[in-house]
């Protein structure tokens, strides 16, 4: 296609400083770089409350622009662990009132066990975040879509994009998984096509 007019570029957006790449194993201390000992692994496996990765929670809380998470079991704990309500409450601790990011999107699948009241908490939190600062330019938007396995039944791994950083999870996003499982961080999302992929699967559920 011939160009309709002169192409005019604007300066690329400045990138935020980028954290070093690292691997984090789930542990009851909130994550560690080394594999757990087998004793610690047993303890975590049978804990009713596997502690998520603290560094992920902090990264989300410090996000300036976006938090996009893809995980069909994000809101649904394993059997015998805490309830979906507890899981939602834990995730909400990553989204404090002073959260700067406005674009929060959680792509998961529908679980009957996760009630409407649990989901409403996200909207209440979004409103609270938006109202927390008097002259916030952008409202905080927390949107949850549940078409992951229905419309995009081809995703195995779980991942998250926090601002420009891609996180990859071997188990539940955020590191809730009780069994030995790790996450890696420090991947530049744009370099790996993560934004385009996420947008595509995010829109798959609503596009006509």
């Amino acid at each position: 296609m011939k160009e309709f007019a002169l192409g005019i570029a604007i300066a690329p957006k400045a990138e935020r400083p980028f954290p070093a790449r690292e691997i984090l194993w789930g542990s009851q201390e909130g994550g560690q770089n080394r594999f757990p000992t087998s004793t610690a692994a047993w303890e975590r496996k049978y804990s009713s409350d596997p502690v998520p990765l603290q560094k992920f929670g902090k990264a989300v809380a410090d996000a300036q622009e976006r938090v996009w998470i893809v995980d069909e079991y994000l809101l649904m704990p394993d059997k015998g662990k805490l309830s979906p309500t507890d899981r939602v409450d834990k995730i909400l601790t990553w989204l404090p009132l002073w959260l700067a990011a406005s674009d929060i999107r959680l792509l998961t699948k529908r679980h009957q066990e996760v009630g409407e009241d649990d989901l409403k908490k996200f909207q209440q939190r979004a409103r609270a975040i938006s109202n927390h600062v008097a002259r916030r330019e952008k409202e905080c938007r927390i949107e949850i879509r549940t078409h992951l396995t229905r419309e995009c039944d081809f995703i195995h791994d779980r991942f998250a994009i926090v601002d420009d950083e891609l996180w990859h999870f071997g188990g539940t996003a955020g590191g809730f998984h009780a069994a030995v499982s790790a996450a890696s961080r420090g991947w530049r999302a744009a370099d790996h096509g993560a934004f385009d992929f996420f947008e595509e699967i995010w829109n798959a559920g609503v596009r006509k």
Binding site: M1, K2, F4, I10, R16, A100, E137, R141
Partner: protein, 662 residues
């Protein structure tokens, strides 16, 4: 391009390695030479046994072994499985019924040779027994009916479930044509009909036209897609000649006006053509293609696109086909940036080449002006973009844009009603895909407006009439849905697209404007003022996620204000179109003054100005007129960055360039 797919030609160029595990019809004919006095009576008995008696593969093997012994063929390579397969082929010719087919299928299930050689054996048998041709064709037609109505079942429960499951879910789909365009994703292809392929392979060889007519009777895309494999359409060994032959014989799928009548053969052939075009870049795929290799890809794609378009144009229903297929191709192009579309290794390049080739081959085709009623929502505006592209390239007259304009004119009560929903649905794909400003879609949608007598005034009218959308962005939807944010965000996204269309009208007009004293320039300046004013308003009222887009829009506007201003010296610089006189407002200084309160935004604007204008003295003059000290600005942003690097990020490379002019 010779009459071959690029992948087909490439396969031929590679030396084929003969695999003796697979037998050809020639191997069976050679076996017959071992029986100079024709096949023995014992062979005929085996054929009758297959047709009339029960018995398993072991018994068949025993009976064939006695034929082999009697003919003294123990030393003949593979004599036993060859004869066994040939006897099966003869049985199918002797009694061409689904019962016989069921018997042979049961043997095939347990014999690799029988499963893989049967088609070739049937071809050989038909060569020596002309009556067999008729039998095989009749049997294949009966089998097709059985597959189409699911009365002919596989021995595998899983395969039967997959066949019927796919058909059930197909019938529940509302977006059937989209699913075909998506190449029936989620379907395992011909493997679910692999058992019947030998029969249909022979059917196609013996009577290709009858084969095409038979397939055309079904509306099951999975069945047809699988069986097209035997004709060289789809996986492994694609053949252009067969694609073209079936294309010419395929029944009409798109009627006058483009309405799809549910026939699936033609859309499947179109999908195959696109797949072949996309494969060109795979054939050439090397980690670092040389300029010569890139030229090779470009040429292959252009040639292949041309023969596809020419073959389609030869059909009576070409215009209807084009009107439904090109929106899909355009949709693929619009999901990429201009840079992707120009990259010969991207799929968008191939789709774009196909649209161009179709445009060149339109000839006297009269394309419908709109999509038909059965078209999906996304098709409407993608089709508009296609028509604009054809018109821009001089293949068709420019389309009217008034209906498009009317779509934007909503009364407050329209938003939640059909008209508002339709506008959102039509725009949904483009507002999501269009990441550039203005972007390909906005430029294409703008083109018919640019060709109207007063494009600037037309856009100003559109923006003015979009008051309902702005009110929804600012105050929300009074008949609010549970998620009222969505209403505000959707309305904001629509306005962002409308703005981009306006900017595209400005860009296209400016590219044709030779003097800032011309009436065209005056009209463009009015349009520019309206665009600047729209930006200010939207920044104030849109607090959804669109807000950032409106900030970056200011950079686009400021850059245009600078590069399209006639220099005060009157000297014309290369690439400097003359739209603005120096005192036309808003000036660059005015825009910088507006941005003074936000150092991040101001730096972004300055960096964009520097990127687009090598004339630093003009930039400095503009800074002076806005009473802005560049060194103060740089100092401020560095201080902010030190305070909170993630909140106030800087691009060191760009900032140093700016600093150099302090």
């Amino acid at each position: 391009m010779s009459e071959q797919w690029p992948s087909e030609r490439r396969t031929e160029e590679h030396q084929m390695i003969a695999n003796t595990s697979f037998k050809t019809a020639q191997d069976f004919l050679a076996l017959l030479n071992a029986f100079p006095n024709s096949l023995p009576r014992a062979f005929d008995d085996v054929v009758i046994w297959i047709v009339e008696q029960d018995g398993d593969l072991a018994e068949l093997e025993r009976r064939i072994a006695s034929v082999v012994d009697a003919a003294n063929l123990q030393a003949y390579p593979d004599s036993q499985p060859l004869l066994m397969t040939f006897a099966s082929a003869a049985a199918l010719a002797h009694t061409p019924s689904l019962h016989t087919w069921g018997r042979i299928s049961a043997f095939k299930y347990n014999s690799w040779q029988l499963a893989h050689w049967l088609g070739e054996a049937m071809t050989a048998y038909a060569k020596v027994n002309s009556q067999a041709c008729h039998s095989y064709v009749a049997l294949a037609r009966e089998a097709f009916v059985g597959l189409d109505n699911f009365s002919l079942q596989s021995k595998s429960v899983r395969i039967n479930e997959e066949r019927s499951g796919a058909w059930t879910s197909w019938n529940q789909r509302r977006d059937k044509l989209d699913e075909i365009w998506w190449d029936l994703r989620g379907w395992h292809g011909f493997m679910n009909y692999e058992e019947e392929l030998p029969l249909f392979q022979v059917f196609y060889e013996l009577s290709p036209d009858e084969f095409t007519r038979t397939l055309s009777c079904s509306s099951n895309p999975y069945l047809i897609d699988a069986l097209l494999f035997v004709a060289g359409i789809g996986a492994f060994s694609p053949r252009f000649s067969e694609w073209k032959r079936i294309l010419a014989a395929a029944p009409v799928a798109f009627e006058d006006g483009g309405k799809w009548n549910g026939s699936v053969l033609m859309p499947l052939l179109l999908v195959e053509a696109r797949n072949q075009l996309l494969q060109v870049r795979q054939i050439f795929r090397t980690p670092d293609p040389t300029p010569d290799e890139l030229d090779g890809i470009r040429q292959e794609i252009a040639d292949a696109a041309e023969v596809i378009a020419a073959a389609l144009a030869a059909r009576q229903d070409a215009s209807a086909i084009f009107s439904r297929w090109t929106p899909w191709l355009m949709r693929q192009v619009l999901s990429h940036t201009s840079k992707n579309v120009a990259d010969v290794t991207s799929s968008a390049f191939a789709d774009d080449a196909l649209i161009d080739a179709i445009g060149r081959n339109l000839g006297s085709c009269a394309l419908p002006q709109t999509t038909p009623e059965d078209a999906a929502s996304w098709e409407s505006w993608c089709y508009r973009c296609t028509l604009s592209s054809f018109a821009y390239n001089g293949h068709i007259p420019v389309s009217a844009w008034e209906d498009f304009g009317n779509e934007w004119r909503l009364a407050p009560e329209d938003w939640a009603d059909r008209k508002g929903l339709l506008l959102r649905e039509h725009a949904s794909l483009i507002t999501t895909l269009n990441k550039e400003t203005p972007g390909i879609a906005a430029n294409a949608l703008a083109y018919p407006i640019v060709q109207s007598p007063s494009p600037g005034r037309a856009w100003i009218g559109l923006w003015h009439d979009a008051i309902t959308l702005r009110e929804i962005v600012e105050f929300g939807d009074s008949d609010a849905t549970p998620d009222e944010y969505s209403s505000r965000s959707d309305a904001g996204r629509l306005l962002l697209l409308l703005f981009r269309i306006g900017l595209a009208i400005f860009d296209q007009g400016a590219a044709q404007c030779s003097s800032s004293r011309s009436p065209e320039a005056e009209s463009l300046v009015d349009l520019y003022k309206a665009l600047a004013s729209a930006t200010c308003e939207m920044r104030e009222i849109d607090s959804t996620l669109n807000h950032d887009e409106w900030l970056s829009v200011v950079q686009h506007l400021t850059v245009r204000r600078m590069i399209w201003e006639q220099p005060s010296s009157g000297e014309s610089e290369p690439g400097n179109f003359q739209v603005f006189k120096p005192d036309d407002t808003p000036t660059v200084g005015d825009l910088l003054t507006e941005a003074k309160g936000n150092v991040i935004e101001l730096v972004a604007i300055l960096q964009s100005l520097l990127l687009n204008s090598p004339n630093v003295s003009r930039l400095k003059a503009n800074l002076n007129s806005a009473s802005i000290s560049l060194s103060d600005i740089v100092r401020s942003i560095r201080r902010l960055n030190q305070f909170h690097p993630r909140k106030y990020p800087i691009d060191e490379n760009q900032l140093q360039k700016l600093e150099a002019h302090c």
